[in-house]
Amino acid sequence: MNRTTAGEVGGAGGAGALALALLFALTAWSAQAQLTPREILERVDANMTMTTARVNAQMTITYRDGDVRNLIYDAWAQGTEQSFLEFTAPARDAGSRFLRLENAMWIYLPRVGKSVRIQGHMLRQGLMGSDFSYGDASENPSMVEDYDATLVGEEVLDGRPTYVVDLMAKPERRDLAYQRRKVWVDAERWVPLKEERFARSGKLLKIALLGDVRRIGDRWYPFRVEMDDALQTDTRTTLQMLSVELDIRVPSEVFTLPYLEGGE
C-alpha cells in the first residue's frame, strides 16, 4: 500500500532521501512554477518515505447496515521493503500479525499458531475485512520508480492548492495492482490529499482521501486516511493515526518469521 495505509509508513531512500527532502523543503516554494510531473513525484516520495517509522493507529470500518468495527494496531516499517503490523484490540483480534518482506506477506493468528504466506490474488483481499488490501501493504511505495506521470491540472482541494497528477504504471510494472492512479498532491506540503486507483481495464478500484496533515520534524504526514473500495460497496474504512514516530530505531528482529510466530 502506499505509506499511509495500515500504518505501513514506508521509507525509501534512507539518508539520501532525507537530504533530498531537506533540499526540496528549502527550495519548494520558489521552484513550483517550473515543476515537471516527475519532480512532483520526487517531492512526494521525499516527504512520504522514511528510513523507519512506528505507527499506532485506529482502523474504523463502517458498514452499510450501520455496523462499526474499531481495531487498533501497532506497526513498524523499515525502508520500503519491510513492515510488521500487530492488532492489539479488540480482544478477539489481538495478536493477529502481518509481516511483509519485499513483496511477500505472512499472516499469523494466535489460534492457528503458525504463519501462513499469502500470495497471488489473495493479496487483493481486504485486510481484516477492511477496504485496505493485503496487497496495499506489500506494494513498493515509490511513485517515481513505478509510474510515469502526467500533470493534468491544478485544483484547490479542501482549501489546499494541489497538483493533479495522472500516473500510469511503467511498462515493466504490469504486476502492480493499480495500473493507473490519479493523485491530488498538496502543492506546498507534498502530501497526496486524494487518490483514485484504477485497474488496467480502467475500472475504478479505490478512492482514498487523506487529511489531518500534521508536521513531524521536517515532514508533513497525513494522520487520517479514508479508503473506499469501489468493489466492496458494503464498507468504508478510516485510519486515524494515534501516534507516529518517524526515523527512529527499530529492532531488526521485528521483521523476521520467528518474531512473527513467537511474539515479543
Partner: protein
C-alpha cells in the same frame, strides 16, 4: 366412408387377421419390428428423461436448496461473497421447532464459508462446508463422498478435501493444513485441521474447491457458536415445499431475532425455475418422440399394405364387402401393433428398470460441467410409460392400415388388380 355399412358383419375377423399375419412372415416381422423398436424407444426414453430431470432436481435439493431453505435476510443477495456474519443464530432451538412439523423429514444446519487453504507452502481459495456429519447421511452424504471411508468426525479438528483440490495443493491424507476465513465479526479467523480423507462428490465445482468439516469446526473458525449460515429442510413430500415454507416462517417467527428468509426450493433461484420451465418443453420433446415413433410405424404399415393393393382388389372382385376388407386390414394392423407393442413395452421396461438399478455412468462428462449433477443418471421407469408406448404403437399401426385399405377399396377391382 359413406359406403361403409351401418350393420356389423359377422366375419371371423380376428381369426382371419391372425392368419393373414402369418401368410407373409417377412412382411409381418418387418412391421412388428418397427412397432417394437418404436415402443421400446418411447418406454425407455420417457423413463430416461424423467430420470435425468429427477436426478438433477434431487441433486440440487440435497446439495444446494433443500426443499425449504432458511437463511438470514440479506444473505442470498450477497451469497457470492459467502458472508458468515449474516448468520442464523440459535440454530439448535430453530432445528427443534422445524423438526416438530409433521411434514418435515429432516432439517440440517450448514455453514458455507470462503476460506484460504494453506497446504504444503502454497495456498488457494476454497469453499468450506460445515456439516452435521450424522444427519447429512441421507442428504449431502459426506460418508459417501469420503474416498477411503474416513470422513471427519464431529468434535475433532478434522477435514476432508476435494480430490482435485487436494491435488492442486499437494495435500495428502494425514497432512495438517491451515485454513483462514472470515469470522462472524468480519475479522480473520483460522484453524489447523488434519486431513482424514479425500472427498469425491462427482460434482466438479465441489471437487475443485471443497473442504468438508464437522459443523462445530466451521463454527469455531467463524467464531459463531450455535449458528449456521443456513438450515436446509427436507420434506416427506417435496410437492408440499411451498406451503411448508410459509408454515415454517410463521412458527419460527417468535424464535428469531431479526428477519429470516424462508424459501421453498421453487422460489430460490433460476435453476429450479428453469427446471419448471423445462417440464413443458420436455413434454413437447416427448410428444415429438411419440410422433416420430408413430411415423416409423405408419411408414412401415403403409408400405406393407400398399403392397397388397392387388390382393385387396382381388378380394373385392370376388365379392367381399368393402367394409369387411377395411375392417380386416385395420384389425391386422392392430394385431401387429399389439404384438410389437407388448414386445416393445417389455424390452423398454426391462432396459429402463435394469438401468434404474445400475445407473448410467456420466462421471467423466459431469466433471466438465458446473451443475449439481452427480455423474450417475438413473432412469425413472413408471408404469404409464410402456402403456403410453403400447397405445402409440397400436393406434399408429391401426391408423396406418386404414388409409391404404380405404384407398384400395375405392379403386375399381380391375384397376386394383392391374397395380
Amino acid at each position: 366412408m359413406s359406403d361403409l355399412p351401418k350393420k356389423r358383419r359377422r366375419l371371423p375377423v380376428l381369426r382371419l387377421a391372425w392368419r393373414n399375419t402369418r401368410r407373409n412372415t417377412r412382411r409381418t416381422v418387418l412391421t412388428v419390428v418397427a412397432v417394437t423398436v418404436a415402443v421400446t424407444a418411447i418406454t425407455f426414453m420417457f423413463a430416461y428423461i424423467t430420470g435425468i430431470l429427477g436426478n438433477l432436481v434431487d441433486s440440487y435439493a440435497r446439495s444446494e436448496s433443500g426443499h425449504v431453505r432458511i437463511r438470514k435476510d440479506g444473505y442470498t443477495e450477497r451469497e457470492r461473497l459467502m458472508p458468515v456474519y449474516l448468520k442464523v443464530d440459535g440454530v439448535s432451538e430453530l432445528l427443534a421447532v422445524v423438526r416438530e412439523h409433521p411434514d418435515v423429514e429432516e432439517a440440517v444446519p450448514r455453514i458455507r464459508s470462503s476460506v484460504l487453504v494453506d497446504g504444503a507452502g502454497s495456498n488457494r481459495p476454497g469453499l468450506l462446508l460445515g456439516l452435521d456429519m450424522d444427519r447429512e447421511a441421507a442428504y449431502l452424504n459426506p460418508q459417501d463422498m469420503a474416498v477411503n471411508g474416513r470422513p471427519p468426525r464431529a468434535g475433532f479438528a478434522e477435514v476432508m478435501i476435494g480430490t482435485e483440490f487436494a491435488e492442486k495443493l499437494a495435500i495428502h491424507v494425514g497432512d495438517t493444513i491451515t485454513v483462514l476465513g472470515q469470522t462472524a465479526y468480519r475479522s480473520l479467523g483460522g484453524l489447523r485441521l488434519v486431513v482424514t480423507d479425500l472427498a469425491s462428490s462427482g460434482m466438479s465445482f465441489l471437487d475443485n474447491s471443497m473442504l468438508v468439516v464437522p459443523i462445530d469446526q466451521a463454527q469455531l473458525l467463524a467464531d459463531m457458536p450455535d449458528a449456521a449460515t443456513e438450515i436446509l429442510v427436507f420434506a416427506h413430500d417435496p410437492e408440499l415445499a411451498e406451503p411448508l415454507a410459509a408454515q415454517l416462517k410463521d412458527s419460527l417467527e417468535p424464535h428469531v431475532s431479526g428477519d429470516i428468509e424462508v424459501l421453498s426450493w421453487l422460489d430460490q433461484g433460476p435453476l429450479m425455475r428453469t427446471m419448471q420451465m423445462m417440464r413443458p418443453m420436455l413434454a413437447v420433446v416427448m410428444g415429438l418422440m411419440l410422433l416420430m415413433a408413430g411415423m416409423v410405424i405408419i411408414n412401415t404399415m403403409l408400405m406393407t399394405v400398399m403392397e397388397r393393393t392387388q390382393e385387396l382388389g382381388m378380394q373385392a372382385a370376388l365379392g367381399m364387402r368393402r367394409s369387411d376388407i377395411v375392417f380386416l386390414i385395420v384389425t391386422e394392423g392392430l394385431v401387429i401393433g399389439l404384438i410389437g407393442g407388448v414386445v416393445g413395452a417389455i424390452l423398454g421396461s426391462g432396459v429402463g428398470i435394469w438401468l434404474e438399478h445400475t445407473g448410467i455412468d456420466f462421471t467423466a462428462a459431469a466433471r466438465t460441467i458446473d451443475l449439481p449433477f452427480q455423474g450417475m443418471a438413473y432412469p425413472d421407469w413408471r408404469v404409464s410409460f410402456p402403456l403410453i408406448g403400447m397405445a402409440c404403437g397400436i393406434c399408429a399401426a391401426g391408423v396406418a392400415a386404414l388409409y391404404p385399405a380405404l384407398r384400395a377399396i375405392k379403386m375399381a377391382p380391375a384397376e386394383a388388380l392391374r397395380q
